[in-house]
Amino acid sequence: MSATVTPVKGGGASGAKNVFGVRSYLGKHQSLSILVIVCIIAILLPLLAVIPPFSGFGTQKDWVAGFAQAGVFVLLALGLNVVVGFAGLLDLGYAAFFAIGAYTMAYAASGFTGLDLPFWPLLLVGAIVAAVFGVLLGAPTLRLRGDYLAIVTLGFGEIVPVVFLNADKYTNGTNGITGISQPSFYGLFGINGFGFTNPWPYYLTILVLITIVVMLLYRLQDSRLGRAWVALREDELAAASMGINTVTTKLLAFAIGASTAGLAGVYYAAKLGSVTPDQFKFDVSFTALAMVVLGGMGNIWGVAAGALIIYELQSQGLKQLDAFIKALHLPAIGPIDINQINFLNFQYLLYGLALVLMMLLRPEGLFPSRRRKRELHEEPAVDELTSPDPTGERE
């Protein structure tokens, strides 16, 4: 996958092989090429699901439903990438914004409040609401140093589900809000309500959302703001002295990241039809972080690919591994009976291992952004001389 997507990166500057001018054309027309790539992937994924090894794991319908769900995590990873990858701020409470988006949808279109507002504009509303919360959290805390921010966001990520859980008068507590309205195409393509049984409309919707988000993110990345984020990430002091307003710039990263999560939340709530507080615990934030780190912080396509791969590995890979090993009927070795082990439980252990190993061995991720790779692997001797003390210990 990475091979097909790399040429798009970095505008027209990618000119290794210029077959029939396709690469330079794609470089110049980024949004168009994003559209083309997403379309290709959109067609390939369902086809992949009917090819033998994969077709044995589930029907095409199951796979497409899984891809639609994976798309939610792709969106989350893309949004978190803005905060962590572009701006270099560690946000450990990202699921909170996802929750806020989902509950926005739940309030606006369910029997719980009696409202039934249409899904499409709510996508925008959810994004805005989440962004507002991002600003509310970020404004007082973004002046702090990075690791304090990490802990404050971690705390925020903990509080938000607790609030949804405890304020049961307004959120229905543990049981959450059910009966959230389905999206509708209003008769277009012959589809009114999406329904729960047909995954295709959801699949298409999430693809459209991802396409739009990726287009916007590419434009952002190359914009003045995107360059300000990079400057800030590399050296806050230098960036500030070059006239970058550090607080506003960080706040924008935070708000844009949050709004993407809010968008994903609205879609997620509508797709599932219900929201409960325990869907938005720390493991969601952590999964999204693992996706960003593994995919390659700062690389939009890498992060998206990382999210898709991790999601499929956790939802299908571990399940199949478990079934495969159980089917072998291996004999027990002493007290260890491999048939008793539930490999599905290893999910977070593997994420943890992956994060640590990735940071130690390949900090730029599986699909690194070119800049990040250069940063991490080129002439450390020069770095030591020119960059200020990276540990920041000298006052």
């Binding site: 805390t141 304090y148 404050v152 780190v293 252990l349 943890g352 990276p390």
Partner: protein, 356 residues
């Protein structure tokens, strides 16, 4: 509570400076006690409920829980002081420590209180603490060696991410290998109520409070009086200068991790002995609260961390006394945000003002 602790400048009151801190502390404790008393017996609504006695119980309970947080917070603050890393895995070290206590006690064959045999009890408890502290100390050193040391000069984000990774590894190792549900730790300390003057206190509470204070004093003396302690302090202040003066940076940092993790291990044993239960996911919340305690006290400052731990203990117990216990977490994190916004140096962290 926090405002009470800050107090008024000494000069204005005309007191000896050395007297101000203890007086403020005593004042804060009295206020906390009165709040406990005032809040007691309001939620249950039972007729013959002794406000003073229940307030006193809650007060002691808060001191005990606060002691656990204080022990964990010390590890956070020491590590942060020396390498400026938030060791997210520290809460999990505490959790594993409680499992080591469970493992030691059950392997030794105990299942309930050891009554009537004081020497045996002392030996068993001491042994459990030593095992847990030693094991967790070594685990801490291993974590530092493999997850943090290679990244000492990497961008700041990198060790934070490995720290999160290590925390998940520890938590899920316990989840996968030992248990995914609540584990019962044998409460070997019997539970007579001791009467010391007007105060009646359960043996376990007295033990925990004394142990916590003892460990804190020991740490204080170690940092203040020994060569190794001085090496740690100088490394925290200026690593390069310390190295030039002959301090072995790597072993000093490893020692910091050993001590911090051993204290978390001790806190884990206390958790097991006091509550009688442990579960694979207690580390996350406890770690967050202890970190809040460390920030509250002024990160990098060991006295502050201990103080912060007790403050958090009181916030938590007070919120349950007033019947809003399920909001305790929110209150603690709210405190964290408020402290970071309005006084990022914490209660006692003046000397670190430029770092925040």
């Amino acid at each position: 509570m926090t405002t009470a602790v800050q107090g008024t400048p000494a000069s204005r009151v005309g007191l000896d400076r050395r007297l101000v801190a203890p007086l403020v502390l005593i004042g804060a404790l009295v206020v906390a006690y009165l709040l406990m008393v005032a809040g007691s017996c309001t939620t249950t609504g039972v007729g013959n409920c002794d406000k003073w006695a229940q307030g006193q119980d809650q007060f002691i309970n808060a001191l005990t829980i606060g002691g656990i947080y204080a022990l964990i917070a010390l590890g956070y603050t020491m590590v942060y002081g020396i390498i400026e890393l938030i060791n997210f895995a520290h809460g999990e070290v505490f959790m594993v420590g409680s499992f080591v206590a469970w493992f030691t006690l059950t392997t030794l064959g105990f299942s309930g209180p050891i009554s009537g045999n004081l020497p045996l009890l002392v030996v068993v408890v001491a042994f459990t603490f030593i095992v847990s502290m030693a094991v967790m100390g070594v685990v801490g050193v291993i974590i530092e060696r493999f997850a943090y040391r290679p990244l000492r000069n990497a961008p700041r984000l990198a060790p934070l991410i490995t720290a999160i990774g290590v925390s998940f590894i520890l938590q899920n190792l316990v989840f996968v290998i030992i248990s995914n549900s609540i584990v019962t730790v044998p409460q070997v300390i019997p539970n007579p109520v001791l009467s010391i003057g007007p105060i009646s206190i359960r043996a376990i509470n007295l033990f925990v409070i004394l142990l916590t204070l003892g460990l804190m004093v020991a740490l204080h003396l170690f940092l203040g009086k020994t060569t190794l302690g001085r090496a740690m302090r100088s490394t925290a202040i200026d690593r390069d200068a310390a190295q030039i003066m002959g301090v072995n940076i790597n072993s000093t940092i490893a020692l910091t991790f050993f001590i911090g993790s051993a204290l978390a291990g001790a806190a884990g044993v206390v958790q097991g002995l006091y509550f009688g239960v442990t579960v694979f996911n207690i580390g996350f919340q406890a770690g967050l609260k202890a970190f809040t305690a460390a920030v509250l006290g002024g990160i990098g400052n060991t006295t502050g961390a201990a103080l912060g731990g007790f403050v958090i203990g009181f916030i938590e117990v007070l919120s349950s006394v007033y019947g809003v216990g399920r909001w305790a977490e929110a209150a603690v994190f709210g405190t964290l945000v408020l402290v970071l916004v309005f006084r990022p140096t914490g209660i006692l962290g003046q000397q670190l003002a430029d770092r925040a």
